[in-house]
């Protein structure tokens, strides 16, 4: 087969195929993540969520996509047409472009750049143009202000997130995503446990990066200043929406790769085998998990009120059983296939857990006011991230120059960072109290 393809094109075939898969799958995936979010939101709010469009609302994303595509395309009267058209395009392109360096399992990566991490961060920072141009092109004072605020928020939290990533880079020693996961395998521990503050800072920064609650003031509906998306409707709006959810998956992917071990199984170095086979004990977990989910679906199926819901639930159970079989089958396949399949499974599991945490935060916390948001970014996260980087640097020096145990070297620096964090967090208190005094005084003598 390979002699049919010219040798200059051959190395490009697999990456292009991966890229095609991502571009085709991602919009569908983003749509279904929206459905999952609505169902999770409903579950947390003691209600059911979408139930009508398809059994259990499973066709809801299709219906929404159809509606958005068929909607009238409204462009504000004096808007800059070229920019209006370009802005959502930039957002989506940058969001999708970032996937080119993201490894989904050891076998699926479009390009293993040796500056992969920096590339993803750089491309995410280009996504700001989509927001800024969108707000400006709408020819509305409030859209522009909302866009500026959004962009300022993104820039501030990018700094904090980047510093958190830098602390992991010190431990991993390389910018290539594959090497970072390999470093976690070599050092035997996920970096989230090594640098918990780095993980925490990146978690908060990534929520702000994707404009999710509690940092979603620029796009909230009960606020007065409208967001940059106000004048966009129909398909253009759905592009922005797709960009937002694609961004969410990207930051989850980065966090998983850097902090949660990427495609590594938990306890990746534990290599006990099943007696007589070369199958490792813990590698049986994925098929068992999938089987457990399948059994749960089968258990729920008879309890559904409507026949079609019963069928769909049973079908979901069947699909999970097929996944379980595939995972189990992969155990006996050649090592690269096994690694690829199981690696992808663990990666996707961790990414979805991270995204579930995002959803959980959205429905639990109220929204930050914009100045509080900026204060949090600049006066808490960035100093904390700086201290964290310095701490990790000191820990590495202790480990390499003075031969301390790796865990032991991180304990004092983590404690120091914790101390700084507690101090920074309470540093707001005097400012807030002063604010309170001022407003009381002001209202008192404003007779």
């Amino acid at each position: 087969m390979s002699h049919l393809i010219p040798s200059s094109i051959l190395p490009l075939v697999v990456p292009v195929l991966c890229a095609v898969v991502i571009v085709l799958v991602l919009p569908l995936l983003a749509g279904y993540i929206v459905l999952v979010e609505r169902k999770v939101m409903a579950g947390m709010q003691a209600r059911l969520g979408p139930m009508r469009v398809g059994p259990h609302g499973l066709l809801q994303p299709i219906a929404d996509a159809l509606k958005l595509v068929l909607k009238e395309d409204i462009i504000p009267a004096r808007a800059d047409k070229v920019m209006f058209w370009l802005a959502p395009l930039v957002s989506v392109t940058m969001a999708l472009l970032a996937y080119s360096a993201l490894p989904i399992g050891p076998a699926f990566q479009i390009a293993d750049l040796n500056v992969g991490l920096l590339f993803i961060v750089a491309v995410s920072s280009l996504g700001i143009y989509g927001i800024v141009l969108g707000g400006w092109a709408s020819n509305s004072h409030y859209s522009l202000l909302g866009a500026m605020r959004s962009a300022a928020q993104l820039v501030s939290y990018e700094t904090a997130g980047g510093l958190a990533l830098a602390s992991v880079l010190l431990l991993a020693g390389s910018l290539s995503m594959k090497d970072i996961v390999q470093a976690q395998l070599d050092q035997g521990i996920w970096f989230a446990f090594y640098v918990p503050f780095g993980f925490f800072i990146y978690l908060v920064a990534s929520i702000a990066e994707t404009n999710r609650a509690p940092f979603d003031l620029p796009e909230a509906d009960s606020e007065i200043v409208a967001g940059y998306m106000t004048e966009y409707s129909g398909f253009r709006w759905s592009l922005y929406f797709l960009a937002e959810y694609a961004n969410m998956i990207i930051v989850a992917g980065i966090a998983t790769t850097l902090f949660l071990g990427g495609w590594l199984r938990p306890l990746a170095r534990y290599r006990d085998h099943f007696p007589g086979t070369s199958v490792e004990l813990l590698d049986a977990v994925p098929p068992l998990l999938a089987l457990a989910v399948a059994l749960y679906c089968f258990h729920l199926a008879p309890k559904q009120p409507v026949k079609i819901q019963k069928l769909v639930m049973a079908g979901a159970g069947g699909a999970c059983a097929v996944v379980a079989l595939a995972l189990a089958g992969a155990l006996f396949a050649p090592a690269s296939v096994m690694q690829g399949v199981h690696g992808a499974f663990w990666f996707l599991l961790k990414v979805f857990t991270y995204i579930y945490a995002f959803m959980w935060f959205r429905f639990t916390f109220p929204r930050y006011r914009f100045d509080q948001l900026m204060r949090l970014g600049w006066r808490f996260l960035i100093p904390l991230a700086l201290v964290n980087v310095i701490g990790v640097g000191i820990a590495i020096v202790l480990r390499e120059q003075f031969d301390w145990n790796p865990f032991l070297s991180l304990v004092p620096t983590t404690l120091a960072t914790l101390g700084v964090a507690m101090w920074l967090v309470n540093d707001d208190a005097p400012a807030a109290a002063a604010n309170l005094e001022a407003t009381i005084a002001q209202s008192g003598d404003g007779e």
Binding site: S8, I9, D80, V82, M83, L86, L113, N114, V115, L118, F119, V121, A122, V123, S125, L126, I128, Y129, V132, L133, W136, L144, M148, A151, V155, L175
Partner: protein, 169 residues
């Protein structure tokens, strides 16, 4: 090789074309966006020269940081009036003559040195990755310049904050 050449010509054309478009646009935001495209195309050329750290830094800092600030300023300053003004018409002839003289000189220089324009091909496998090499150089040979640049940036930041504070009167 063919693919590499095609890519190079693509990036080069994009860069030159965007630069030309940038200087001829009336709408200043369009011009800024074309500048961003020029920078991105240049970054592509860097990548082809196997300078991947420069490629990423160009995107991250130049296109993703500096140009964003440019665009902020452009959008917050109301430039509608300026856009409608007629540009400097009277100096067209002088400008044209000077540009022609410069173009003649550049073409002559290129034609005279056309034999020396072949750059050595970059080694196919660099000993150290680009990032490490840059970092190594910055922190050993060029440490002084690096520190001075950092202090300069710090001074600029503090100056900006001080000047931007609202005067409480």
């Amino acid at each position: 090789m063919v693919l590499a050449n095609m890519l190079f010509y693509f990036f080069a054309l994009l860069a030159v074309g965007s630069a030309l478009l940038m200087v001829t646009r009336r709408n200043i935001v369009h011009a800024a966006v074309f500048l961003v495209t020029t920078l991105l195309a240049t970054a592509g050329v860097f990548l082809q020269l196997q300078a991947e750290f420069l490629f990423v830094t160009q995107i991250l800092l130049y296109a993703g940081g500096i140009m964003v600030l440019f665009i902020f300023v452009i959008m917050l300053v109301n430039l509608d009036v300026e856009m409608l003004l007629v540009q400097f018409n009277r100096q067209w002839s002088v400008a044209g003559a000077l540009a022609f003289a410069l173009a003649v000189q550049v073409f002559f220089a290129l034609w005279a040195g056309r034999d020396t324009l072949h750059l050595p091909a970059p080694p196919s496998q660099l000993a150290l990755k680009n990032t490490e090499t840059v970092a190594d150089a910055l922190f050993s040979h060029f440490l002084m310049a690096f520190e001075i640049a950092s202090i300069l940036l710090l001074v600029a930041m503090i100056g900006a904050v001080v000047m931007g504070k609202r005067r409480v009167e």
